[in-house]
């Protein structure tokens, strides 16, 4: 009897608790689902909005280098080329510097100097893109035009890379600005990768009589190799999609030019420059298709990067600025 009597009382107490729990569970699930749906909506809405251009040009969009809004002929080659070239140029500068700085911060620097430098590196990443662009227009471009490009033109002008008049703005300026902007990401992620290398690696090398540098080279860099490649890819992902600073210094001309002195255009900067002024539906759809292309490329690069970084030291904690 007593047991039977006890049952309803327990239920009566349990009911409100379950209600609160259920409400909270539904709310939390809804928040997470919002994130998932947002990304899905992103893909769907961009495919939908770029459909007119896909239908009109098909794969030719990716193979044509004509960009003529007046004649409504759109091809993405100049932008793909500009994006790849400027990003490669940026990595060429940023990778040695970034990995060198990471080695210094994780392996070689005295302990007291590490936190302030790591903090300054974070601040480099926190400077807004438009401010890099402003600095690029008024400091970097004149510097290149007056000092760097004439010297390069004179000494290496026989190479097609350094031919042409020195404008200041152009592919070279874009590459340098991009390098400055992605190097803190490469530094921070590489540093995390190096710090994730087990100490037994270092101790073994040091015990064999290796110097600090030899230890770094043999025991640390080799162990963290795939993670470092991941760090570089994360930097590449940033460089591919970087918009404002590049738009302000690259010169914005839709041409495929070999020379680094010549103006160019990137996928992100053509969208930034022409989107608000796109006069026809097809023009707008073509710009959105370029955005979609950029989206797909950055997603692939980032996914690859994350897998590689995870392979060394668990989920990446890239700096968040």
């Amino acid at each position: 009897m007593a047991v039977v009597a006890a049952v309803p009382r327990v239920e009566a107490q349990a009911a409100p608790r379950n209600l609160g729990d259920q409400v909270l569970r539904v709310v939390l699930r809804a928040a997470a689902l919002t994130l998932v749906l947002l990304v899905l909506a992103m893909v769907v809405s961009m495919v939908h909005a770029s459909w007119p251009a896909m239908r009109a040009f098909g794969w030719r969009f990716l193979a044509s280098s004509t960009w003529d809004p007046v004649a409504e002929q759109f091809g993405a080659i100049p932008f793909i080329y500009g994006t790849l070239l400027s990003s490669l140029l940026a990595l060429l500068i940023a990778v040695p510097l970034g990995i060198g700085a990471a080695i210094y911060l994780a392996e070689l620097a005295p302990a007291w100097i590490r936190p302030p430098i790591a903090f300054l590196v974070e601040l480099v990443a926190a400077v807004p893109s438009v401010i890099y662009g402003l600095w690029g227009i008024f400091v970097l471009a004149p510097l290149l035009r007056v000092w760097v490009q004439p010297v390069l033109g004179k000494s290496l002008g026989f190479l097609p890379l350094f031919k042409g008049p020195p404008y200041g703005v152009g592919m070279l300026a874009a590459g340098i600005i991009l390098a400055i902007m992605v190097v803190p990401y490469i530094t921070a992620v590489s540093r995390e990768v190096l710090l994730a290398v087990p100490n037994t690696q270092r101790e073994a090398a040091l015990a064999l009589g290796a110097t600090r540098w030899e230890t770094t080279r043999i025991a640390v860099l080799r162990y963290g190799r795939s993670g470092l490649v991941g760090a570089i890819l994360l930097g590449l992902g940033r460089a591919l999609g970087e918009t404002m600073a590049v738009t302000m210094v690259i010169g914005n001309r839709p041409e495929v030019a070999i020379s680094l002195f010549a103006p160019g255009y990137t996928m992100a900067s053509v969208v930034a420059n022409e989107f608000a002024e796109a006069t026809s539906d097809l023009y707008l759809a073509a710009l959105i298709e370029i955005g979609l292309l950029l989206f797909v490329v950055t997603v692939v690069v980032n996914a690859l990067a994350r897998l590689l970084v995870w392979s060394v030291g668990g989920p990446v904690k890239a700096i968040r600025e």
Binding site: V124, I131, G133, I288, V299
Partner: protein, 280 residues
């Protein structure tokens, strides 16, 4: 190699690495120096209290852009923070299988998506149906950029709350939802606030996603469904214009913007320092 050569190489490589670290940080100092040199002279009371003057008239300020940026940030926070923090709580607490994995992966994907692409997204889902540029569209774009940062930091910090605390509360017979909202979240609060401020600092300087959502405005905004000025947009517009006075104002705007970003970033550090030493 002789021992002497090995030691020499060690010294050389150490200096090279130190030089690389110096070169990484150098641009920050250069940019800061130029901002102070070019911008400080144009930052005055007028800059904070006046509207932009028409072309050709010297003077005026960016009051509308400063207010606009603050409003866009408030809008973005109002839209993005509840979803972000609750989503993070879900990722840390849920025992489900598929949804947490998917959401975590997509948060990381979203974090890597260029901000200009998010601008296009906001344009297609808000500007096109409304048929006009608006503050709401700009705030939405910034909220989408904030979201993955807030989700992932909240998750990380909720995970750091010791299980013993939770168990103690549950052992007292407190229902689970109350434990989460009254014990777990408050314990992680300082860290979550840091994550929020870092996210705000990150979007405060965003320009690309505002170009065709908030669009910019040379006057005070006329409501949330109308175009609104933003500091980064104004800096961009002034920097590429051919007027010397506008260039000066662009430098001044940049100085104010970077001040805003750095103050929020520093504040984020102060909130956590000392309390949660294990938390970045």
């Amino acid at each position: 190699m002789t021992p002497r050569a090995r030691r020499a190489l060690n010294v050389v490589m150490s200096w090279l690495a130190a030089a690389a670290a110096g070169l990484v940080v150098l641009p920050l100092l250069l940019i800061f120096a130029f901002l102070l040199w070019q911008g400080a002279s144009a930052v005055n009371v007028d800059f904070f209290t006046h509207l932009p003057r028409p072309v050709g008239e010297v003077g005026g300020g960016m009051a509308n852009a400063i207010v606009g940026t603050l409003m866009l940030l408030a809008l973005a926070a109002a839209l993005g923070l509840p979803v972000g923090i609750l989503g993070g709580l879900y990722l840390a607490e849920s025992r489900d299988r598929r949804l947490p994995w998917t959401a975590r992966f997509l948060a990381d994907v979203l974090n890597g998506v260029p901000s200009i692409v998010i601008g296009i997204f906001a344009y297609t889902v808000i500007v096109l149906p409304m048929r006009r540029f608006s503050a709401i569209a700009g705030g939405f774009a910034l909220a989408v950029i904030m979201l993955p940062i807030v989700v992932r930091t909240s998750e990380e910090l909720v995970r750091l709350v010791p299980a013993s605390l939770r168990e103690a509360a549950l052992a007292l017979g407190i229902p689970q939802w109350k434990v989460l909202l009254r014990v777990v979240l408050p314990t992680a609060r300082a860290g979550i606030i840091t994550g929020v401020m870092v996210a705000i600092a990150r979007v405060a300087g965003e320009t690309a996603p505002l170009l065709f959502t908030a669009f910019g405005n040379r006057f005070w905004h006329q409501g949330l469904d109308q175009p609104i000025a933003a500091l980064p947009l104004q800096i961009f517009a002034y920097a590429i214009a051919p007027y010397d006075d506008w260039h000066r104002q662009a430098w001044a705007g940049a100085l104010v913007l970077i001040g805003l970003v750095f103050v929020v970033s520093f504040a984020a550090r102060v909130v956590t320092s000392g309390r949660f030493t294990g938390v970045r």
